[in-house]
Symmetry: C2
Subunit: 577 residues, 2 copies
Amino acid sequence: MEKNLRDIHSPEDIKGMSLEQLYLLSDELRAALTRKLAAHGGHVGPNLGVVEATVALHYVFDAPKDKIVYDVSHQSYVHKMLTGRIEAFLDPAHYDDVTGYTCPRESDYDLFEVGHTSTSIALATGLVKSRDLVGGKENVVAFIGDASLGGGMALEALNYAPELHSNIIVILNDNQMSIAENHGELYNHLKTLRDSNGTAENNIFRALGYEYIYVEEGNDLRALIKAYREAKGQNRAVLVHINTMKGMGLPCAEAHKEQFHYNGPFDPKTGANINSAQVESYQEIFALQLLDKMRADKRVVGLTAGTPGAIGWDPAMREAAGDQFVDVGIAEQDCVTMAAGMARGGARPVMGVVSTFLQRAYDQLSHDVAINDLPVTFVVFYGSMFGMNDMTHLGFFDIAMVSNIPNITFLAPASAEEYKAMLDQAVDSANGPVVIRIPGGAVRHQSAPVNTDFTKYETVEQGAEVAIIAEGTFLETALKAAEILRSKGVTPTVINPRILSQVDAGSLDTLKDYRHVITIEDGIVDGGFGQKVAAYLGTSPVKVTCLGLEKEFLDRFNAAELLKANGLTPEQIASIA
Amino acid sequence: MEKNLRDIHSPEDIKGMSLEQLYLLSDELRAALTRKLAAHGGHVGPNLGVVEATVALHYVFDAPKDKIVYDVSHQSYVHKMLTGRIEAFLDPAHYDDVTGYTCPRESDYDLFEVGHTSTSIALATGLVKSRDLVGGKENVVAFIGDASLGGGMALEALNYAPELHSNIIVILNDNQMSIAENHGELYNHLKTLRDSNGTAENNIFRALGYEYIYVEEGNDLRALIKAYREAKGQNRAVLVHINTMKGMGLPCAEAHKEQFHYNGPFDPKTGANINSAQVESYQEIFALQLLDKMRADKRVVGLTAGTPGAIGWDPAMREAAGDQFVDVGIAEQDCVTMAAGMARGGARPVMGVVSTFLQRAYDQLSHDVAINDLPVTFVVFYGSMFGMNDMTHLGFFDIAMVSNIPNITFLAPASAEEYKAMLDQAVDSANGPVVIRIPGGAVRHQSAPVNTDFTKYETVEQGAEVAIIAEGTFLETALKAAEILRSKGVTPTVINPRILSQVDAGSLDTLKDYRHVITIEDGIVDGGFGQKVAAYLGTSPVKVTCLGLEKEFLDRFNAAELLKANGLTPEQIASIA
């Protein structure tokens, strides 16, 4: 079987195939994909659901001349298998040769590094515009899932694209799921369209000027090829709505769609996770604490923009929270601004959010929440070099992005106890917005009581001469560096700053006659809290060194190497003190 | 006449009026509003167009118990007149007692500080949710213009709101205009609905689960009152589509809708501007230069997200640029990401953007443009304390926001010549994204040739002991401070940094044995370029002082006072040197 797949070096190799051969090819691709996913983990359901849709795409269109843009691109595995990267799906030794998203560094068939949702139609309109300026004739295709379509930019672009009066094909891969369930009336509308075989009235796509083609059998090659051929080469905007099944062909993924959206290694027969050791997580601590607070106060509301699982809210927890848990779908802007409205109405909203996705709502944080100084609490997960490590999902940037917005109190706990005290204070009594950044790495506990005046730095160890001010993740590192230094006869002061959006002048004033102040943060140094400290101490003789990460986009880095490259090991810190 | 208006202290005062009296009231409101607008300037067309829609709103609904959320809120003048603030529209001495937007600091009838588009439905859903959690019964109304509806968050919220299955009323004020003309197929759809008196097929609002009510006579009180009464008190999502005329009742505003969207003082008879002295502007310089570049190269494209006038592209210029100028409507996200797509396709996109609106596309800047390292050029206007001064439109934050994103070259020219050289270089030969921040204040010229190695700081005056590194707007201030210092026997070095996204180590290394380095920037100090300098020089004995603005949201400040409060006058700078 794999011999056939190994012969596929480019889409050219499938263009001469008969329909029967294409069906066989799809089965082989699905089988190979399942083997890799089970052994390696990855986006299981999204890819198994689009095997046929992808084979048909490369059969009908002529990439890379025709341009295919994947939304999120977490469903591009089969595309990679058909475009010269099959080895990375057949040979375990090469599994990590490819990223989990489209990647121009890998292949000319991949046009963009993508990982966030809702970008494909806008990117495609740009390709259309540049094509038309120079008189090109290629097709431009945006391949977007139903969940991604609910994101604001996707809707903006859906609205704008037909105005170009030029060839653009939107393939709407409707698998009836977001990561979790979909939210918003659009999804009832899509159901109405599916239930009527595409004939229902009030067709939103026709309203927006699209030629609309519905494919009920979105996992059937024959139907897909027919629809794609109809869409190809038209000089207008065409939307092909394909009804697919997420996780198609793998029973556990078909049955447990949320779990198998993305999963680690698993037994393909039973669906059981292979590495299922239970470790304590901040997600669980957050969800349980918030559920308690919800039960005590009806006005406490938990919010997510489409990623409930990533913030600890599995289906059972959501069920328990009832109408006090809100998932708006992948619509971070709506989520943040809805939270602002809730706070004005007297509720106590708490949004859990993945660091990299918070940047999708910068204006909403600033204009809606911060200017209005409303008590909305944000709990930020994966804001750490020990979080996600795909280039499109880095958690290095939230300190610089958020802590420089006025009125926002930006807190970085260094332990579970500190975090819990911060959440209690924010939800129970804050008068303005509070952002709490969950530290990276294993959950840390502290036995000392938590000082809840979070406007003040906390001196954890009192020393002299040298001070290390280390936020969140790096407090433990600082304590280790202090130990090394003590063995060399220097007893440094170790400070946990907790608040990163302003300096604690009182604390810093005590350091002005020190020899050296070292700041450490789990994020880029530029725009971070360390530079605030350096500026505050700029007119004092004390030396200041700001440690953290360089301002750069990295991809699938090794954390230990990154620590070393940035001088962040205890030994390195001690050596410069 | 004004006696009647002066008797209106709250909406209660109009509830007992007959329809005839309400018609008369509307005429009087429009006349008073026109007088103020002509003398004072403001959002002319938007407010004149909604006189009746606002009177009917306060007649039918019971604010502040019923909650009304204005989108952008630039159309809330009549609302202010009816809610206790009439004096500010009748007495010239009190014209500036009110802001140009809704403002909770002014009145309980105003729920949010708002100035950006597309927020109202999301804010309203938040009010709905908090109401429903505590069992309230009030109506929640979002009042949104057709142009604002095209923004991503408005569409996200339009999609989500009906899922609440609860009272929410969206009033769609369709005046058939954005600031300039609308873009996107939604606007053809709205036309189809208007042309069919609301009966056209493929109704997008019905598709999204709304009860849809169309009001052809959107400037007629009787029709509006009937429609609002129908919408009021329903336990579901209702959308009232009202067909209004922007600038209604003022011939010049009816005829010149783009000009009179927002205008300074004018002669209400002729429409002629009163203060029409022509001064040189960076907008004009930008537009003419870019048009030249478009003519020389078909791949050069100008882009805007709904604000062509604010970046120098009046209708004649747009006409001249033809298909090389793109306005996507008020959809900054789509605009930025479309530019990324264009750049990948080989075009050379240049987006002109107002500083405060660039923050609406942070994720697009980072994820789509910067990660993909694409040659998109952004020219940022009003990024200055001398730009806009409404709390919702401040230009203080773009340095901190943008310059800390990897791969972006963030440039701050200090003269027209420097700016032009930067645009030439960015469009002609950049390999990655470039952001050029237009300085504030009058256009400055330099006679010295421009050093086009913009990775390097430029020493404008060589001195010793003290160095002043002043970006853009403040270079002139630094030169004045230097003059003062020379008169006191100190000859400082004055440096124009030009690049704010990285330090010029070579230049800073020459300052390590100086006594004092002072940085000045036209934006908040936090997260800015000065703190990068302070951090770089942190291990050297030289003192560093970072000057700029405090991190705070200000409203309608006096620029001279703000300079003083932040130590930014030449005298103050010289005094600390």
